[in-house]
Structure formats: structure tokens, C-alpha cells
Symmetry: C2
Subunit: 293 residues, 2 copies
């Protein structure tokens, strides 16, 4: 890529996108976020959506990551397989034009499972490259689809997706629990109580209904339901991944309002979580990838 | 109630209602179903929605059951507590007018849980009264909110709700899996494979994402996803209730297209399910209740 002019990095997700102008020293000097995630761009509208980014941040090379490279995005960038580090991502970059490049997602197949990620891989290899996480660690990356990634020798060795964020959103927006789940979940005592239930019992589809029944029957206050349900789902998520390996150190990387919830649930599980802002890792990742292109 | 003219029984749920004209010998002689569940009736519109039933089935006394008696319905009929049999239901009937009666729901509080039902209780006591089920049994009642009811001495001793149907609908209508989950789930090999996963592992929030990932990576055909996901959720539901009590006899009561799915999952769990049409039990229940009013 032409470093003299810097470049624009975009973390382009399903519902939002975030664009950064990176200067010739690798620093982000201007940015914006908007709601033009891939599902909000009409079919055939990606060239225009890309042009708009250049209008706002300047006519520079673009390095795009996330769902923009999926089969619902602009141009598909086939998944690279685990184990995947920065070398594999660089090799898999797709050049839509000489100035429009898309980072591939990562796929895992093994243990009778199959899994995919798009976007988190840049943060994971970026965090390793920048020394923000050690080359061997377990990273939890909360979001619509929470990813648990085993990083080994600086590469993504395997990972597992848990649909926790999406399930919570579905329940909040469209379910019988909608009214009760308005507001924000906080890592308070109700959250921790929900997390302990999710960590110790595997009945969330039943316990979620109990959240409403308890309020109806006067057994629990309505204003604790949102945090309790969030704790229940996140505690169950942690149980699925950690199983009996309680006490394990986990790096929780992502948006701070989510990492604090996962950190609270991990502490209930006896783990020692370290929180890390995902944006810093994303920027470290795109700069390292751009340097090699 | 005035038996000379018969009466109208209504199973009034969240999204649908079904009304039956019962003649003076206790038989259903005319019926209709429509989409005027309580969530589709505007606030203050219940008198009109009730009048409409009489317009269609005649000016007779009405015995209403289900969500119509909830705090979002017409007039709230407070829950009666478990253990609840036909006597408790009759005692709890609310008279909105002398000719408009609402059957109460049932609440369970115990074992650190709280739970509620509205509508299924009529089927449960009706099935016992009509000799369709023995007075001591475990009944599974699939629906938007599946109920597992322990019937003892002919009364509902305790029960547990699992949100399986609602979760499946949320995933089908609003999630990243929507496209994959169109069509109908069938009790085929893909369903049974999903059920075996749900019965043996407690990771549905992760396995659901795998359904999509496997298709993306060519590890599974897209046309099996709907049945597999349904089997996964129902298998998990059965695991939550039965735990280690595999082989237990279960009566599955409800709509035939749902009971056949639960029966298939129960057989995978080594149980011996007996299927029963819920409509017959509902009619038996309302007639027995009406006889006592």
C-alpha cells in the first residue's frame, strides 16, 4: 500500500461500520462511525458506500475488515483456516482494486464443530503483534456473537462462537420478556446472581421464563430482570467455554461496556479476567497488515 | 351456567384464539380460529372482541381460558397455586358478568423457582377428568412456551416452562439464522441428530451458531438446518426436564405437528412417549368446569 499518503481502515460489521484515517506513522488521526453495516447497504450499493468513506476521510487506499468480506458483503474474501496468524491473513487479502483491499475471515473445523469469524481476527493478531496480549492465551471477544479464541504461538489456533449477544437482543426486542429487559444490564448483584445460575446450571431456556414468572408472582423486582437475564446468558456462555477449567486466566477484549459484564461473570467463575479495549487492537492489527501489503 | 342453551368455550392465547360452541350434551358443534390473540386486540377492545365471538357462534354464556385472563388480557383472573385440580380452577373462576366467565391460570413457586401457566391447565385437568391420562403422570405440553407438568392424584402438582417454541420462532424470524430456518421442522434424521446433540451436550447457544458455520463451510447441507436446529432446541428442552431420568414415560399433549417432534426427541432419550391431541383435552376440561359453575 502507498504509505506516503497513509490509508483508511474500516471495521465493517453487520449493523455498523467504523472508519479510521491512519497517517503515515500508523496513527489514527480521524474517524467516524455510522449505521451502514452490511445489512443496511442495498444490494449493489457497496461501491457507493465505499466512495462515501473516501468523501469523508480523503482519497486514500482502503483496508476493509469484517462482514464486508462475507457472502452478504461487497466482495467475498474466502476464509483462511486455523491456525491463522498475521501471515495467513496477509496472504488471504483480496484486492478488489489496487486501492480497495479486504482482509479475509477465519474458519475453524475440528472436534466435530465448524465455526467462522470476520473482524475479530484483526483484533486478535493485532493485540499479539502489539504485545497487548501474550502469544499463548485464551481471549474472550464479546459482541453480537461472542468468540472464545485460543491463541497459540501468536496465531488463532481454534475458536468457538456463542450467540449470547444476539440471543439477548432477540429476547429484548421481540420476546415475551421485552418489557422487562429494557434499560442497560450492569454488573451489579442481580447480574452476578444470574451469572451464578448460568455458571452452575444448564437450563437457561427454562430459567429465562422464570425471570418473568417471578416478577408476575411478586418474587423478584422488575427492575432487576435485565441485569439478571444478562448475567444468566453470559454465565452460561462462560460455563460452555470454561467447563471445569475454572480459575483460568482470560483476556476479555472488545467494547468496554461488554467486557465489564464478561469480566464480572468470569470473576464469579473464579477466573482472573484482564480487560482490553478492542479498538486499540483493531488499529494495531490493520497497521501491521497494511505494512506487509 | 345455563345448560339449556349450551355455552361457548374459548382458548384465547397470545397470538391466536379458538372458539367452540358446545351444545347441551357437552359436544362441540361449531368452532372457529382466528389471529385475534390478546396481543392483537387493542387496549380497551376486549368487549368488542368478545361480542364478535357471540356474533359468530350465538348469544350464549362464554367460558374463557388462557391469556385472556392475564394482566395483558381482558380482566385479570388471579393465578391459583399448585397443587391445582378441577376444584381449584372452578373456585378461581372470575365472573366478569353473569355470562362472561374466565378460568384462572396456575402458578407454581418452589425449589427456588417460580412459574406460571394460562390455558394448559384446562387441558391437563380435562385430560385427567376424561380418563385420557392417568391421575399420576408427567405431561409435556409443547407450544410457544413448553410446559412440563407433574400430575399427581389428578391435580397439577408442579410444572416447569421451557421457552423452546418462542426461541425457535425468534431465531427463525429475526436472527442471523433466519434464512436457514425457513420451512417446517420434521422428525427426520437431521432432527434426531440435533436432538441427540441437545440431549447430550449443554451448549445450544454455541451449537446454534455452528449450524450456520457448517453450511458456510460446506460441512452440512442448508436444507437440513431447520430440522437440525429444531431437534437441538427440543433435545435440550427434554434434557433440562428429564435429566438422568431417561426411559421415563411421558404423555405429550398438544398440537399434533408439535407432539410428533417432542415424541421423536423423547424416543432418542430412551423414553416412551404417548401422544395426545390437546384440543380433545381442552374440550373435556371446559365441559367439566362448566358443569360445576
Amino acid at each position: 500500500m502507498c504509505w506516503a499518503e497513509g490509508f483508511i481502515a474500516v471495521d465493517w460489521g453487520t449493523t455498523n461500520r467504523r472508519a479510521y484515517r491512519i497517517d503515515d506513522s500508523g496513527r489514527s488521526v480521524e474517524e467516524f462511525e455510522d449505521g451502514k453495516g452490511i445489512l443496511n447497504v442495498p444490494s449493489g450499493g457497496f461501491s457507493e458506500a465505499v466512495a462515501e468513506i473516501r468523501e469523508r476521510l480523503g482519497d486514500r487506499p482502503l483496508l476493509l475488515a469484517g462482514m464486508i468480506g462475507s457472502n452478504r458483503g461487497w466482495v467475498e474474501a474466502p476464509y483462511v483456516r486455523c491456525p491463522a496468524g498475521i501471515d495467513e491473513l496477509v496472504e488471504g487479502v483480496i484486492r478488489v482494486t489496487e486501492r480497495d483491499l479486504i482482509v479475509p475471515g477465519v474458519a475453524y473445523v475440528g472436534d466435530g464443530r465448524a465455526d467462522v469469524m470476520r473482524g475479530e481476527e484483526v483484533q486478535l493478531v493485532g493485540a499479539v503483534a502489539a504485545g497487548l496480549v501474550p502469544p499463548d492465551c485464551l481471549v474472550c471477544h464479546p459482541g453480537t456473537h461472542n468468540k472464545w479464541a485460543v491463541v497459540s504461538g501468536g496465531r488463532i489456533e481454534s475458536f468457538r462462537t456463542v450467540m449470547t449477544g444476539e440471543l439477548f437482543n432477540l429476547l429484548r426486542e421481540h420476546s415475551i420478556l421485552s418489557e422487562l429487559l429494557q434499560g442497560d444490564a450492569r454488573p451489579d448483584e442481580a447480574f452476578r446472581r444470574g451469572a451464578r445460575h448460568g455458571l452452575s446450571q444448564d437450563d437457561i431456556q427454562a430459567e429465562l421464563f422464570s425471570v418473568r414468572a417471578r416478577v408476575l408472582l411478586g418474587q423478584a423486582p422488575a427492575n432487576e430482570a435485565c441485569s439478571y437475564a444478562s448475567g444468566l446468558l453470559i454465565g452460561s456462555d462462560v460455563r460452555i467455554e470454561l467447563g471445569s477449567e475454572v480459575g483460568r486466566q482470560v483476556i476479555v477484549m472488545g467494547r468496554p461496556e461488554l467486557t465489564e459484564l464478561y469480566a464480572a461473570a468470569l470473576r464469579e467463575a473464579g477466573s482472573q479476567p484482564i480487560e482490553l479495549d478492542g479498538e486499540q487492537s483493531f488499529l494495531a492489527g490493520v497497521v501491521r497488515i497494511a505494512e506487509r501489503l
